[in-house]
């Protein structure tokens, strides 16, 4: 997956978790916690969705890397570069 595809994928997961949110205006450099008021249960869900969809294991000590869109995409890039996006 390219960086743009990874971003798409995260948007897809966020849309799944919070279907009422308008994500078209999401700012990549602002924390999800601040923009969407996601809490620890939601971050865990992002991790579990990534595992479910792409078999990516994210160790607990790395959860902080998923704070914003920019950081998430950067963190996931090496893990997902050989994975094809299925949509």
């Amino acid at each position: 997956m390219t960086l743009a595809e990874i971003r798409e994928e995260i948007i897809d997961i966020l849309h799944d978790i919070a279907p009422d949110e308008d994500l078209s205006e999401l700012k990549d450099d602002v924390d999800f916690r601040e923009q969407l008021e996601l809490d620890s249960m939601d971050f865990l869900d992002i991790v579990m969705e990534l595992r479910k969809r792409h078999r990516v294991q994210i160790p607990e000590e790395d959860y902080g890397e998923l704070a914003s869109m920019h950081r998430t995409v950067t963190y996931l890039e090496p893990l997902l570069k050989d994975v094809a996006r299925v949509s």
Binding site: I17, A18, P19, D20, M41, L44, M48
Partner: protein
């Protein structure tokens, strides 16, 4: 082999099932009754739809709110706000002799009512709010601290203490006389700070959405399948044996049947007899009216009434205790259709809840049970019209359910609506892979039970692999 077997298809069991099935666990929900919902079920009689438990869905927040229990459960279950279609209440009342406090959704109205009727308590009430906020964030008080003591140490007018406790106990206190301060804070937030709402179609809308989602995700739901016993060795459970003799193996078991009820399934009679199950059960007297309650001058969503200065929350010695009660009119919500036009239930409905004695109702011969229902329906209505306009000549149909009915739907010992007084907040049991969720884990109400199922499933059945 199931990854998780869930006992009970009420709100908590269904919610747990959705979480597990969503993350590809093989999961089966077993329900003893012929229908889903547990306490929050529904039925049909004489061509009319009735809810069992639901007066109001608490924890109301308008669409777009990102915080609070409702927002959290929608995200966890991947629902849109519209899937629950909650219409806010018009307004509710706490009615004691000589003084009434009005409630709306959000704290504002209650605060101004307290300023008006209890001016000396204005600052004390603000201090109580701080204590509740501190409890949430710092957990300074233990969950089981006495709410009466904590609240009385801040609010110095005993009448206001009783008036604040009354609705919170009615909608979620399993303990007689007093209330756990932790439970008090949860209920205070869900009722006074957030508030009441209801889907136009009643509780069936929520249940149908939960079941549909569970099945779409591949979950199995088996009705009329009571669990006779849980198979276990010293430290682990291995599966269940059903009433019909069928055996189902499972890696985890999540039980919403209640603490004592679950331990009994494990053959654990000793620990299941200590500290006792709950004793508080209700009757519900329902009247269908030929007019809308508002046409009779009654616009209240819920009225919590008590006919003296002292609120008594105890199992009645007789069949029912009519000194206190809850009057609910499902008509009195701001219902809107999809285009935003106001809509209304086709008939007027008044539901009145009274405290009732399980044994007294359970032990009646069939014919007398029928007669007592008629007698206590009339008495309950007579008690209620002291606190609302007299609607008796507008009644066109009635129904009543009793602790016996509640037992049939919930299988709780004593038909205890809110389960056992001592809660098991972490959900664990003496067996490593057996957990409890629902009423006896500690969260009550529709939103509370759903969150209970979600949090216990997350913690023990999803994160451990």
């Amino acid at each position: 082999m199931y990854d998780t077997i869930i006992i009970g298809a009420g709100m908590s069991g269904l919610a747990a099932g959705i979480r597990l099935a969503h993350f590809d666990r093989r999961v089966c929900i077993l329900e003893r009754h012929t229908t889903i919902g547990g306490l929050n079920s529904f039925y049909r009689l004489n061509g009319r739809d009735y809810d069992v438990g639901l007066h109001a869905v608490t924890n109301y927040m308008p669409k777009g709110t990102r915080r609070g229990p409702l927002a959290k459960l929608l995200r966890q279950l991947r629902f849109r706000w519209e899937d629950f279609s909650l219409a806010p209440q018009i307004g509710s009342t706490i009615a004691f002799p000589g003084v009434q406090l009005q409630l709306g959704n959000g704290l504002e109205l209650l605060e101004s009512e307290i300023d008006k009727h209890f001016p000396s308590q204005k600052d004390n009430f603000q201090q109580l709010l701080t204590q509740i906020a501190d409890y949430d964030e710092l957990e300074q008080q233990p969950f089981e601290a006495s709410a009466r003591q904590v609240v009385s140490s801040t609010i110095s007018d005993p009448l206001l203490v009783e008036m604040l406790l009354c609705p919170l106990m009615w909608y979620g206190n399993a303990r007689e006389s007093d209330m756990d301060f932790g439970q008090f804070c949860i209920m205070f937030r869900s009722i006074f700070m957030e508030g009441f709402s209801r889907p136009f179609a009643g509780v069936r809308l929520i249940l149908k959405n939960l079941v549909r989602r569970f099945r779409e995700l591949g979950g199995e739901l088996k009705l009329s399948r009571g669990v006779d016993r849980i198979v276990h060795d010293k430290k682990h459970v291995n599966g269940v044996v059903l009433d019909n003799g069928e055996q189902l193996p499972g890696k985890h078991i999540l039980s919403s049947a209640g603490w004592f009820e679950t331990l009994r399934m494990c053959g654990d009679v000793v620990s299941s007899s200590t500290r006792g199950p709950g004793k508080l059960s209700f009757t519900e007297s329902i009247a269908i009216l030929d007019k809308q309650p508002r046409q009779l001058g009654h616009d209240r969503t819920i009225v919590f009434f008590n006919d003296s200065d002292k609120f008594r929350w105890e199992q009645p010695k007789t069949m029912c205790d009519l000194r206190t009660g809850v009057i609910c009119s499902p008509n009195n919500y701001w219902y809107e259709d999809v285009s935003g036009k106001q809509q209304q239930l086709s008939e007027g409905v008044i539901r009145i809840t009274a405290l009732a004695n399980f044994d007294a109702w359970q032990n009646l011969p069939e014919e007398q049970y029928r007669l007592e229902k008629l007698r206590w329906h009339e008495r309950t209505v007579t008690s209620a019209v002291r606190f609302m306009p007299d609607f008796r000549r507008h009644i066109i149909d009635t129904d009543m359910f009793t602790p016996k009915t509640i037992h049939r739907f919930t299988w709780h010992d004593n038909g205890a609506v809110y389960g056992a007084p001592n809660k098991h907040l972490d959900g664990t049991t003496p067996w490593k892979n057996l957990y409890v969720c629902g009423t006896d884990q500690g969260y009550v109400g529709i939103i509370g039970s759903i969150l209970s199922g979600i949090s216990i499933a997350n913690r023990y059945c999803l994160q451990t692999t």
